[in-house]
């Protein structure tokens, strides 16, 4: 069995599972946010359920917060009242919250060996820690909150064998955009993406979280990394307890396999309007005028991303006519930016720093694009209208590329 299959088998008390098998698995964490939880709460209350656990449910107010309008405020209020009524331990409101997929690993609430569902497609992020973690809808979340279980079809696997070490300033974002460009937005549909090989150890935890985060952009059910010393150090520092390390069997079956030599990766950008529409930076023939840069999100709003952006922006100025919006993903990342002088670098460069929020990534608030505007963003999706007007465009890139573009207002070869 693969890592994913072993975790699923363990959580459904089965010795063995095979791809295509339908199982019911016990859940270690059920997650929702201010957009998806209200729908789940309505369903939950309609069915008259009670929560299966007070501390295995996480509710994070991150999408339209700080409340962008009255309707968004109502939705948060509904979740707040629900959390209060059911004494939900892991309810994160403004002041404590961060972008959910940066926050939960940081707080040690998700860990190796866990089986996790979240009513947010980027819940697959936690696979970076060696967990089975997948996005579901609100009804699954409601049922999960009530029963502590969810049904799954055991996925077949795509093996991604990583070798070598990435060159300077090449990051996890370049890796995952490269893979999506290669296999397509449905290249891993219904499958698990199993990242393994010697190259894993060359990737930081922030890189791995970024890679697993975008497994969904290839259609995958989940992305998962082998666990190594870096994973264990990360979990220990986050205070995660009772993790279980699963390893794939030597004879595990993979439906297909690709190998990526990290040393051959180049800076990669996804052009509008699909994440698989990738070009390496040296393939860009004509400079593209950019109006806004966004550095943040559940994909690239972690401290390492902030450090990369700060190194580029230090002592420089954001180009006239370009707005540079930097969004540390959690309160901790934000505070580290302030304490360690990054905030000063950003402000002196002419960028803004906002409180943690998903905000512009999904065209919600705090950086929505006008007609025909273009953004380079470290986010995860560049669909039509994703960041604002239907004629606006989003180019997905790493924090390094995004910060470089902020200085010239051009996306170009360098």
């Amino acid at each position: 069995m693969t890592m994913t299959q072993k975790i699923l088998a363990a959580h459904s008390s089965l010795e063995r599972v095979t791809p295509g098998q339908l199982i019911e698995a016990r859940l270690d964490m059920v997650l929702g946010n201010d957009i998806t939880a209200p729908v789940a709460i309505d369903e939950f209350e309609r069915a008259g359920l009670s929560v299966f656990s007070k501390d295995k449910i996480a509710l994070v107010m991150d999408h339209f917060t700080p409340n962008k309008d009255i309707k968004a405020a109502q939705q948060c209020k509904q979740v707040r009242e629900f959390a209060d009524k059911h004494k939900i331990v892991n309810f994160f409101d403004v002041g404590e919250m961060g972008i959910e997929h940066a926050l939960l690993p940081e707080k040690g609430l998700v860990k190796a060996g866990d089986c996790i569902i979240g009513a947010d497609s980027h819940t697959c992020t936690y696979g970076a820690l060696g967990a089975f973690s997948t996005g579901v809808g609100s009804t699954d979340m409601a049922a999960g909150m009530g029963t502590g279980k969810a049904w799954f079809k055991v996925p077949a696997a795509l093996k991604i064998n990583l070798t070598g070490k990435p060159n300077k300033n090449i990051s996890g974002k370049d890796l995952i955009l490269h893979i999506i460009g290669k296999i397509g937005v449905d290249g891993a549909l219904y499958k698990s993406m199993e990242f393994m090989g010697d190259g894993v150890s060359a990737l930081s935890m922030d890189d791995r979280l970024c890679v697993a985060n975008m497994a969904i952009e290839a259609g995958a059910k989940n992305g998962i990394f082998t666990v190594d010393e870096k994973t264990i150090k990360f979990m220990n520092e986050a205070g995660a307890k009772n993790y279980t390390i699963f390893e794939a069997d030597k004879d595990a079956e993979y439906e297909s396999e690709i190998t990526v030599d990290l040393s051959q990766l180049k800076h990669t950008v996804s052009f509008p309007h699909l994440p698989d529409n990738t070009k390496t930076i040296d393939e860009i023939t004509t400079p593209i005028k950019i109006d806004q840069v966004v550095i943040g999100s559940c994909t690239n709003g972690r401290y390492e991303d902030m450090l990369v952006a700060a190194a580029v922006l230090k002592g420089n100025k954001v180009a006239k006519g370009l707005r540079c919006i930097i969004i540390p993903a959690t309160q901790k990342v934000y505070l580290d930016c302030v304490t360690n002088g990054l905030a000063e670098i950003f402000i002196k460069a002419g960028a803004i720093i906002t409180t943690p929020t998903c905000g512009p990534c999904l065209g919600g608030h705090s950086g929505v694009l006008a007609q025909d505007e273009r953004a380079v963003a470290t986010t995860n999706r560049n669909f039509v209208g994703r960041m604002g007007h239907t004629s606006s465009e989003v180019y997905l890139a790493s924090p390094y590329i995004a910060a470089k573009v902020a200085l010239t207002a051009n996306l170009e070869r360098f």
Binding site: F64, V136, A142, W151, V368
Partner: protein, 160 residues
Amino acid sequence: MKIKGPVLKYGDNIDTDVIIPARYLNTHAPEELKLHCMEDIDPDFIKKVKPGTIMVGGKNFGCGSSREHAPIAIKASGISCVIAESFARIFYRNAVNIGLPIIESSQAASFIQEGDTVEIDFENGKVKCNEREFDVVPFPPFIQKIIKAGGLMEQLTVDS
């Protein structure tokens, strides 16, 4: 169950951001959501859709976000079934869970064109269009049970 209706056809990779743009997710009321369904790729969708209209898509229908608002908006707009070459997995689950009928058939989805009239016989797994009949693979029994109950929450209530 048998249904018959006119077709609205869309392409590959219809994502949940175009099915229901995130700017409208400050509500989850079906009647409000349906007003903005598909508006970023088909601003007239809500004028064109009639009760019973069948939506046809290409590959990877419903990719992107996990927002259940997407199948909710489609269902509330009056669409009786979505036929696609393939579905993104979260959309597939969500549609089953809220009781929006969906059919995965690459042959039917590529044959059927905008403006056609399609007949679907769910029990016998048949899709009929312009004298052509397509056999579709029925859902596994586990999912049929959810659909029969009217959705996942209804099934939970039945089971408990």
